[in-house]
């Protein structure tokens, strides 16, 4: 699963990122480095720019200024770098008329995964959706679609996973299932950056917390040193 190059390719670096919308800076000269193998929770208020940050990393949004490198290469200018990234956004990115299986087969082909059928069936099994694999995606619940999204994002064995608020809209059971899935996905050599505005439940599995505030990374700490920072501690208490 983790090849020799994956160590290199799972390091994320952002330098001096600026992104403006309507002339307003959302990210204002932001820099952050996430090391290989970290599970970093990105916290911050709604509208702080967490989604923008993740979309820039995924190569979906072009920054006005600054540099993004994934293992030393730029995901926007070099399409092949995108092979090492898995991304789950707010929307499930599925074709509603196609079945779960067909959707994943489509994505597996886009990434030119070897042994498409086998890989896809495995992936669906890993998120416990085998009984539903031949149903059109529109008939699946929000929680099931979210799990299927995770399976889609991990289909091509990316060394970096970017997850944007994966817990939104999930009930208690679905959220518990997602906890397990996440831990399963956090294999050695894989970096996960997860945005959550209510991060409390993640602190047990996360290795780091990054706090996005006023367009910059206000704090970036390992979870076991959270006690040293009362301001971040208070913030995490507040948002729950």
């Amino acid at each position: 699963m983790s090849t020799q190059t994956s160590t290199l390719l799972s390091q994320i670096e952002m330098r001096d990122l600026v992104k403006r919308f309507h002339h307003q800076p959302v990210l204002n000269h932001l820099s952050l480095r996430i090391n290989d193998g970290d599970l970093c929770v990105l916290v911050g208020d709604n509208g702080a720019g967490k989604t923008t940050l993740l979309r820039i990393l995924a190569g979906l949004v072009r920054p006005n200024h600054g540099i993004v490198t994934i293992g030393g290469a730029d995901p926007i200018s070099d399409p092949q770098v995108r092979r090492f990234i898995g991304y789950v956004g707010h929307q499930p990115m599925f074709y509603q008329d196609l079945t779960a299986l067909e959707n994943l087969v489509h994505y597996a082909r886009l990434y030119q995964v070897e042994a498409v059928q086998h890989t896809v069936i495995q992936a669906i099994q890993s998120v416990g959706l085998t009984p539903y694999q031949d149903q059109p995606v529109r008939t699946l619940s929000r929680g099931m679609q979210q799990r299927l999204s995770l399976a889609r994002a991990a289909l091509h064995q990316p060394s970096i996973l970017l997850l944007d608020e994966p817990y939104t809209g999930l009930d208690q059971d679905a959220a518990a299932f997602l906890d397990d899935t996440l831990q399963g996905l956090h294999t050695p050599g894989r970096t996960i950056l997860l945005a959550a505005h209510r991060p409390q439940r993640l602190l047990t599995i996360a290795s780091h917390v990054a706090w996005l505030k006023d367009g910059v990374i206000h704090r970036h700490l390992p979870v076991d040193r959270l006690g040293e920072d009362p301001e971040l501690g208070r913030y995490l208490q507040e948002v729950g």
Partner: protein
């Protein structure tokens, strides 16, 4: 060799997915076809067309109905990607993003081409013109090739506006005018018994359109889709 093979594979993957969605939902081709037939009936009465319709009018009627009906398919093709942000899924894939253009444009071409192929015998039934002729089929496919390339490009522009699908015809028809003129004229020519060589100027114009709009897709599609 490897990258170019994977580029073609990506185009084929996107095209195959569009065909699959169309087969499952049947929301493109049948809708376009019904709309095209409605236009034929509408024009028949609005323009008081005689039953022994002249070749020129038949060619015009064919292209007006195709041009209007195609807009529905073009909008459908792009809003499919807009739903649930499926487009993001394509943008994330490790390939040059112009492959998305070619995949979508080919899909649009196949669906409108199918509508055209069904319309030709229907026209032959309604009017005393045998429309099912190889030269006419060729002209139709060339015309639709240019038209749907431009349409695919513009549908990606219009989908980003608040006015969405309403915008596409306003953008598309004026820019597509030379293509439609050439397509109508070439069709008229072959319907009145001219050979493809006799209408070669129009054929060249259609080829120029195909070249220009596909080059536009190659160069600009990523720029159009980025945020």
């Amino acid at each position: 060799m490897k990258p170019s093979v994977s580029y073609l594979a990506a185009i084929w993957t996107i095209l195959r997915k569009d065909i699959q969605v169309e087969w499952r939902g049947r929301q493109g081709v049948p809708v376009m076809l019904v709309f095209a037939l409605t236009i034929v009936f509408l024009f028949n009465f609005a323009l008081q067309l005689s039953p022994d319709l002249q070749a020129g009018l038949a060619a015009g009627l064919l292209w007006v109905s195709l041009a209007f009906a195609s807009t529905l398919g073009l909008n459908r093709g792009i809003s499919l990607e807009r739903e649930n942000n499926a487009l993001d899924g394509l943008l994330l894939a490790p390939m040059d993003r112009s492959a998305i253009f070619f995949g979508k444009a080919l899909g649009n071409f196949c669906f409108t081409g199918l509508v055209g192929l069904v319309l030709l015998p229907v026209f032959s039934l309604f009017y005393p013109q045998n429309m099912l002729r190889l030269p006419l089929v060729l002209v139709m496919l060339l015309g639709l090739g240019a038209y749907t390339s431009l349409g695919t490009l513009l549908s990606a522009l219009s989908i980003q506006a608040r006015t969405r699908d309403v915008l596409l015809p306003v953008l598309l028809y004026p820019l597509a005018l030379p293509i439609l003129i050439a397509a109508v004229e070439a069709s008229r020519g072959v319907l009145t018994g001219q050979s493809l060589g006799d209408v070669s100027s129009w054929i060249y114009l259609l080829l120029a359109g195909i070249l220009l709009f596909n080059a536009g897709g190659l160069l600009f599609f990523e720029t159009i889709l980025e945020e």
